[in-house]
């Protein structure tokens, strides 16, 4: 309790904006831990956020996401951008080992004060993004990052969630992984703004590219819409990343000029507000001490004296009138 009082939020935000990595880390911890100061933090960040370009990076395990993220950071630093990285780890203990190795490799940039790297836990075994990911994004944004990369395992719902959070979603593939079919299955054909075939020096890279191209062409796009390019990289050697950065910039220009950037950000803000409001309501419904209104209604449904729709009406009436 006494430590909590020590936190001077406006000062922390000021120091984060001045580029102090420890202040950035502290702010992200406050949002991750759902600190009682969370609201104060978010209010203090609000006037400074909204400048960063958010890039989502997703793909099946083994395509080289961390290596690509690392190489992308190098390329962006070459262009003197301030970069934030949110790496959403799977919570599974089985993949922890391999990822740790990747994470260590990311330490290329550990001493660069214009790069913030933060690992975040994923939500449950389905690989969903943590609920605090949008808030952590806002911290990095307000701290003056020009570009924020969110790297996730391309498993379960995280790849759909990342497309909801990012301005530009980059889907990574690699030869020899049966990605053609996998791509269609996982729904990535709908979420990619940019496709990158990594490990392009391996057999089958051109085939992956061809398969992907024909699958993308099956879905017709209306006039004036963005046509996702398919690029090739060898991230391990930093090859092709300049082109990736150029295409990301091109996509950003398209987003801005088409009005889609504003539309995506507004949609994202809507979702965020809605999620916070729904969470608050759920807490209210369950918060009355002892037996709650919702418990009574649920008992009625089980007993057959009411049905779920009538019960939902009653619940809403009790809290909204």
């Amino acid at each position: 309790m006494s430590r909590r009082r020590d936190v001077d939020v406006p000062d922390l935000v000021e120091r984060a904006r001045a580029g102090e990595a420890r202040a950035v880390a502290r702010l992200i911890s406050l949002v991750e831990d759902e600190s009682p100061l969370l609201r104060e933090v978010m209010a203090a960040l609000a006037p400074h956020a909204g400048h960063a370009q958010v890039i989502g990076i997703t793909g099946s395990p083994g395509v080289g996401k961390s290596t690509s993220t690392n190489a992308l950071v190098t390329e962006l630093r070459r262009q003197d951008k301030r970069v934030g990285v949110l790496a959403v780890d799977p919570s599974s203990p089985f993949s922890g080992g391999a990822l740790l190795g990747d994470r260590v490799r990311m330490q290329d940039h550990a001493l660069d004060r214009n790069v913030y790297i933060r690992s975040m836990a994923s939500r449950g075994h389905l690989g969903g993004l943590s609920w605090s990911t949008p808030q952590a994004l806002r911290v990095l944004d307000a701290a003056g990052c020009d570009v924020i990369l969110i790297e996730t395992v391309g498993v379960g719902q995280s790849e759909v969630e990342i497309a909801g959070l990012a301005d530009t979603t980059m889907v990574l593939l690699a030869p020899g992984m049966g990605d053609g079919i996998q791509a269609a299955k996982a729904g990535i054909l709908e979420i990619g703004d940019l496709y990158v075939v990594n490990k392009a020096d391996r057999d089958g890279a051109d085939q992956v590219r061809r398969d992907l191209r024909s699958m993308l062409q099956l879905g017709e796009r209306p006039e004036g819409s963005w046509r996702p390019p398919i690029l090739k990289t060898i991230a391990q050697q930093g090859e092709g990343l300049d082109e990736v950065v150029a295409e990301i910039a091109k996509h950003h220009e398209w987003l801005a000029s088409s009005g889609e950037l504003d539309a995506r950000r507004t949609r994202r803000a809507r979702d965020e507000i809605e999620a916070i409001a729904v969470t608050a309501l759920r807490q209210r419904w369950g918060d009355v001490h002892g037996r709650t209104e919702l418990d009574d209604l649920a008992a009625g449904v089980v007993a057959g004296t009411t049905d779920p729709y009538a019960a939902a009406d009653e619940l809403l009436a009790a809290f909204t009138d």
Copy 2:
């Protein structure tokens, strides 16, 4: 519109309860299609629901879920139970073919008037259960099914959702699929009330059983709690299903005597009421024609004039005061 008026809900419910398959099918269609009559249907069903035992069946592709479901129906019919089956298909076109074959095999029971089989679409590519699954369950329950089997692909979130809906969750495994590791990864160790190693005549079945047993023992269980049995079947030949049915009955007894049955059903009703209430609220927030309150708030967040928490407070204040 005129067809809609023709529907006499109380009559339909009466006929469903009398065992008329077409009436059951019609009621499920009404809930699936979100008919304007949905509320009337749910209200009419309420007094008659709450008797069926709900069994969830899940497992990775290829373990023999449909064959097992089919064999289980045969065994339950031998005991003169009225049985409902909800088969939640993956929406992926790639697996449609194989499943269709299974589904045809299920037609063993197509002419049995005490068996209702219904395929339901899954929600999106993640294999989540359709939002209307709880409502469809309620139809089968009110129609007098003693046991309802819900069969899902063991992919993504459906296996977690099924554990939330079922009284008893049965997890299927098979040798030769690397299921040991998969099991732990997929979180099925937390959801199974019953584990069944199918294809028990194949090499490695005993190994799967041993692996599973040692993994289940890692998680200590408090005194008086249910210890999930691990059974073996050859569903294709109907072998071992009698034991499965016996263990399901034992689990049901334990649920009832421990108070857990009531707890699970109340929890399920709570979730259902909450989901309906939240959906209704979301509609309200977005329903005002033209520019909504939520849109204005989202624009403020994007512009940095407010933050998502303050915006959520305003949203709730506008609708709940």
